[in-house]
Symmetry: C2
Subunit: 429 residues, 2 copies
């Protein structure tokens, strides 16, 4: 961070994630999204991310590449107690430092392990080895300390790969320290602003067409679109160092909102299940579910939200026709006449589950998730969602989804929750 | 791939994933695990992975780094029809090529769009631009073609970022072409062998202790451990170019299996829900679920498996005590005496759901997922799982899990499915 003060320059960061499991499969790296978010609050822009295995020479190569293009390097992983873990050795190699046991690191580890009734083993002793000249970053959650050091004008930060430890160390030590270093050096970029809109029920191509020309070139704001089975995510991100005034930003946000309001179900980090939960609590509703093709996914999603026991009374996963008849009172002849995958049966399921449980709203899904189960008239992906409320209202919707079994289940759960959301917004009580 | 033939050298690959959304949040890159797996069947080792945003200069930098350290570069993303997508321009810049409309790419795209009743728009026309000297990789799923080219002795392959398109192009074109190129050049490394064991019910530290000293140094096999809420994954991976004989490999596999057989629930890509489904079908069992704290997650997991309607009859998500009494016939005074989170209630839930649905096995979970709901004697993470079978057997297990709500739900679902798996393996009929 010792570069020219006169001209404002973006503060460029690189993330290096160390771990053979990240390359070989079994796990994708989720730490870097968290780090990117935290750094963006300081106006620091993550421009590169690298993943390397637990190989000392490869880590050195990645470090040398990073130091040439980034002012801040955040490394995660490879600080554990096993022989595989060689991040600290690789940093010492690359930056030409020696490793030595650091008193404060050793004592903190000893104290932590003593709380757990243990004393450091041989591997854990290695974790107190810190490169010369580096500053220890305490670990408030686990036993492995992190550290940072200055190298060729770049600040190199090394943290454990365990998400909870990395997150606590970023929030408690790294972000405050970076903020004060940037300030000292007169490098205080604007925070990178980011606004996210979650839409459902409109394709990526249609979102693209609707937003065409909405963002003037000079606004220096990036528009991002990202399609997933749960809808299209639309994001506005300021370019670092830009001068987009607060009112321009607000008016751009408002334009996107106005353009897509019919499809936006949430802004920011809120999920569909959180939005629905909030609306249910607001109007003191209680909910019962009747799930066929989603197999419990709607219940699972709703109960991910702390406090959901206040409004989720029960759910019936009625995979068999027998269960639909037996547990929900769907008339057997209705299934015979229309088929289990029909608007009529979706309506009867919602009504049945509501009446039998004594809640205010029943929500249902019936459909063909595939790959089997299709008929001449009912293809894989045909899904009906239904809602029945204690004011006597019944609503059903037909959907024709594409994708594999997992995608169709996800889309079906989203369609059901969105039906409920819309009803709650426009609804009664 | 034009390097020395005399000495066997590992074939090193690098993956470059392009896309601002991969850096800024909203999505982690899952394509690279697939690519790594595919390349390992050819003995090609992915040693580096880089992620860059949709920035032409940054992509050029990443390419220049990669070409200096990898013999094969697989890029994904940035080939779409929008202005953001600049991978082809960056490749042309880096490798000093011109972009021109390629007839076969244009015609294939025209044909694909015609099937969908459309003709290429301006953005899609850009997708037919291919660097001079590059070979087009047809896209059997979508409209964007990929391509590959030789550059400074490295083979650079560029594919779309859409997972289904990338996967089809890897399998149908890239892997066969790489295989024949390697063969032509006398570079035919051994496939990288990888064996994965999934364990449940044992900690990472205990797995580590049990496997201590099991792998002789000269075996040149890497042992990997990875903990997740669903258990500890243990992997054996051969180092490329190693000469680990088939019998050594088999005996190492057998040693791990023997050492951990009590906890291994699956090998290879099989999931717990697939294992359980296979065992249920084998013995012609039918299953009903009674889920409290998992909220539908067990049902969701079981019904992710195609064909699960053959054994999943129904599930009851009984969040309220009322629902437990009403739908499962759990005696109200049992809940009063022992509390809803107790072995007694877990047993009664499993029995109730089995008897009322007429299936052969009932499986139940009741617990405190948190963050609320704990009492002086019952902490967050206390979970009971129960099983009741039509031979009169009842089994329950107590667990004390750590973690947030989502982790406790996942662990609870795994504990219930593992109880069922063990019962099916040892069980009756």
């Amino acid at each position: 961070m010792g570069r020219a003060r006169s001209l404002p320059q973006p503060v460029i960061a690189e993330i290096i994630a160390v771990g053979s499991e990240l390359l070989l499969g079994g796990r994708t790296d989720s730490n870097s999204l968290f780090i990117t978010d935290e750094l963006s609050t300081l106006g620091i822009e993550v421009r590169f991310k690298s993943v390397v295995g637990d190989d000392r020479a490869d880590i050195v190569r990645a470090l040398k590449t990073a130091v040439a293009r980034a002012e801040i390097i955040v490394m995660t992983g490879g600080l554990g107690p096993t022989v595989d873990d060689c991040t600290r050795e690789a940093i010492a190699d690359a930056a030409g430092r020696k490793l030595g046991r650091r008193k404060e690191a050793f004592e903190a580890m000893q104290k932590r392990l003593a709380q757990w009734g243990r004393s450091p083993n041989k591997g854990q002793l290695r974790q107190a080895l810190i490169p010369t000249g580096a500053t220890v970053v305490p670990n408030p959650v686990g036993s492995a300390p992190g550290f940072w050091l200055s190298w060729r004008g770049t600040l190199l930060i090394s943290l454990p790969g365990v998400p909870a430890e990395m997150a606590a160390m970023m929030r408690e030590s790294v972000v405050p320290a970076l903020a004060s270093r940037l300030k000292e050096r007169g490098r205080t970029p604007q925070p990178i602003r980011r606004q996210v809109f979650h839409t459902w029920g409109i394709s990526e191509a249609d979102v693209d067409a609707k937003l065409q020309g909405l963002i003037p070139k000079k606004a220096s704001v990036d528009l991002g679109l990202l399609a997933s089975p749960l809808g299209v995510l639309v994001s506005l991100t300021t370019k670092p160092l830009n001068s987009t005034a607060a009112e321009t930003w607000a008016s751009l946000s408002e334009s996107v909102r106005a353009c897509l309001h019919e499809w936006i179900f949430a802004e920011g980090p809120e999920t569909m299940e959180e939005v629905v939960g909030r609306l249910l609590i607001k109007d003191k509703h209680t909910l019962a579910l009747a799930e066929s093709c989603t197999g419990g996914l709607i219940g699972h999603r709703l109960t991910q939200v702390p406090g959901s026991s206040a409004y989720v009374d029960r759910g019936i996963i009625c995979y068999s026709n027998h269960a639909k008849i037996d547990l929900l009172g769907v008339p057997a002849d209705l299934i015979e006449r229309h088929g289990a995958v029909s608007a009529e049966v979706a309506a009867a399921m919602a009504k049945g589950v509501r009446e039998r449980s004594g809640v205010s709203i029943g929500l249902s899904v019936t459909g063909i998730a595939g790959p089997g189960g299709a008929t001449a008239t009912k293809p894989v992906g045909l899904v009906y969602v239904g809602l029945n409320a204690d004011n006597g209202e019944t609503v059903t919707r037909e959907h024709r989804f594409h994708g594999d079994r997992s995608v169709i289940k996800q889309r079906s759960s989203q369609a059901a929750l969105d039906l409920l959301r819309r009803w709650l917004l426009n609804g009664c009580r």
